[in-house]
Amino acid sequence: MKLLPFEKPLEILYKELERRKRNGEDTLHLEELIEKQMEEIYKKLTPFDTVLVARHPDRPQPQDYINALLTDFTEFHGDRVSEDDPALIAGFGFFKGMPVFAMGTRKGHNIHERLKYHSGMLSPSGFRKAARLVETVSHSFKVPIISFVDTPGAMVSPQSEMSGQVEAIYKSLSALLNANVPVISVITGEGGGLGAIGISTGDRILMLTYSYFAVVSPEAGSAILFKNTEAKSRVASQLHLTARELLSLNVIDGIIEEPLGGAQRFKNAVIKSVGDALQSELETLLKEPVTELKKRRLEKYESMGVFTK
């Protein structure tokens, strides 16, 4: 497992643990020590540290949640105009026996996958696929929508600009706001800017403990404000991008707790927690008539923001 910079103190302990295991020595005490140390570290994470955890390549990614939580998952393809964006996985499956539509950014756990999926950055065809399917779900399938988000942001390239990236984001965002079904999104890792809001807008936004959701990445924010990326840590703190801060700002609706150490170390436990959270939210949302749900969804977004008269 790749250790993050702030996890450095664990390196020597992990090595010792490996040595003892190799030699068949007792490891119980050492494991306890490691756990304690890890808890100490994770209790003191800065916002920028959290960003680094959110980006850890071994964290479960949307496709992992979809595969683990849904049965009979069937992927649907294409935007019906130009392309099938592999960076967006989208389709139907049964969640605890109930049909649902699920979509999520494919990020990739290794360099090969990351190249193939553009590290989870959607192209216009990805947002258009989302928009098309959300409309079909809303009109024809009438099942809840679950969106798993882990993206550094929307794709930026000459090709994506010329193919109408800003327009495609509008389409996807608009379709989600208009959906006549419950929409839950879970930010499992990175929630970067327009790329994230384009596919995460719904009745409930949940975040994992070590995910982030921000108008820009700390590096991009630093680039904008300071013309270099060195202030990224400071910007990360000022952006209020952690789940806890965003919950206290009433921007998100709930936090799915990760154990200290992060989802990259406790994959199955975290996937289970996400499943439990989704089930509980769905039960609540399904009690309400969809018209009421939609009305409150729109009210929520129309009331977002802080200003004075």
Binding site: P158, E161, L173, L194, A223, I224, L225, V251
Partner: protein
């Protein structure tokens, strides 16, 4: 994405001449232009056609019929909700802007006539933090959209914005969802007509909002896209060719209905408004 520090490009390079003459130097051809001439010429360089940036009030004065523009509702002020400081505290930036620009946020919104037709009119103020989308700006735009819907008016918005306002963090991003939600409601109404006007530049979430236009008009030579050059360079690790965001190219790719220079803009909008049958009727 807002790009500070580029003030030189935003504020006119004014050169004080002898006596009361004021001359400015063209950003493009470098010639000296009499400021009064420039203003009368829609701030287009009479030598090379370069479009100088216009302030929101200048825009309104050339877009709305004389004396018809009424600002909408109470002024809404931006707030430093995240206690943000970049090179300067955001609070101070806001206070300074109140003095220098004289606007409470980055949009001027109200009702007015264009070619005799009553419209809901919004104009982004690039001079206010590069027209970035803070909470107050987003709320005012949403208010305008709701007003257009309630009163069955065509909605005309002139966009110019560097995108989201980083200093308001997630709240800036949420304004995109807020305004799109308001637009969805507006667009549901039979006969609603959102004329979106792209001027230089329109970036980020504001560009996404602008692309919701039923009709999209662009001022020639404008740039529209996800992010400005600096941020693109950071994300892509290489520069984004400007051509990719040029409205002339976006029109070839199907995203712009009409391109016009600034002088033809008002006439184009009037024509489009007149092409509409009476609201909701045929």
């Amino acid at each position: 994405m807002n790009i500070f520090g580029k003030k030189k490009k935003i504020v006119l390079p004014v050169i004080q001449g002898d006596g009361q003459d004021v001359k400015v130097r063209c950003n493009s051809c470098g010639r000296l232009i009499d400021y009064d001439t420039l203003k009368e010429n829609y701030k287009i360089c009479p030598y090379c056609g370069y479009h100088f940036r216009m302030s929101a009030t200048e825009r309104i004065s050339v877009l709305a019929d004389k004396g018809t523009f009424d600002e909408l509702g109470e002024p809404i002020q931006s707030v430093d909700v995240l206690n943000f400081t970049d090179t300067v505290p955001y609070k101070k930036r806001l206070a300074d802007l109140k003095d220098t620009v004289g606007l409470p946020n980055a949009i001027l919104a109200g009702s007015g006539k264009i070619g005799g037709i009553q419209c809901a009119i919004g104009v982004f103020a690039f001079e206010f933090l590069n027209g970035t989308l803070g909470s107050a700006t987003g709320e005012k735009l949403a208010e305008l959209i709701r007003f257009a819907g309630k009163n069955s008016l065509p909605l005309v918005v002139v966009f110019s914005s560097a995108g989201e306002r980083v200093q308001e963090g997630i709240f800036s991003l949420m304004q995109v969802a807020k305004t799109v939600s308001a637009l969805n409601a507006y667009k549901e109404k039979e006969g609603s007509l959102f004329i979106s006007v792209l001027t230089n530049p329109v970036l980020g979430g504001v560009a996404s909002i602008a692309m919701a236009g039923d009709v999209i008009i662009a001022e020639s030579g404008s740039y529209v896209g996800v992010s400005g050059p600096r941020i693109s360079e950071y994300v892509m690790k290489r520069s984004l060719p400007k051509e990719a965001q040029k409205v002339e190219n976006l029109m070839k790719r199907g995203f712009v209905d009409i391109i016009t220079d600034r002088k033809g803009l008002k006439d184009t909008i009037i024509r489009i408004l007149k092409f509409q049958n009476k609201w909701g009727k045929l």
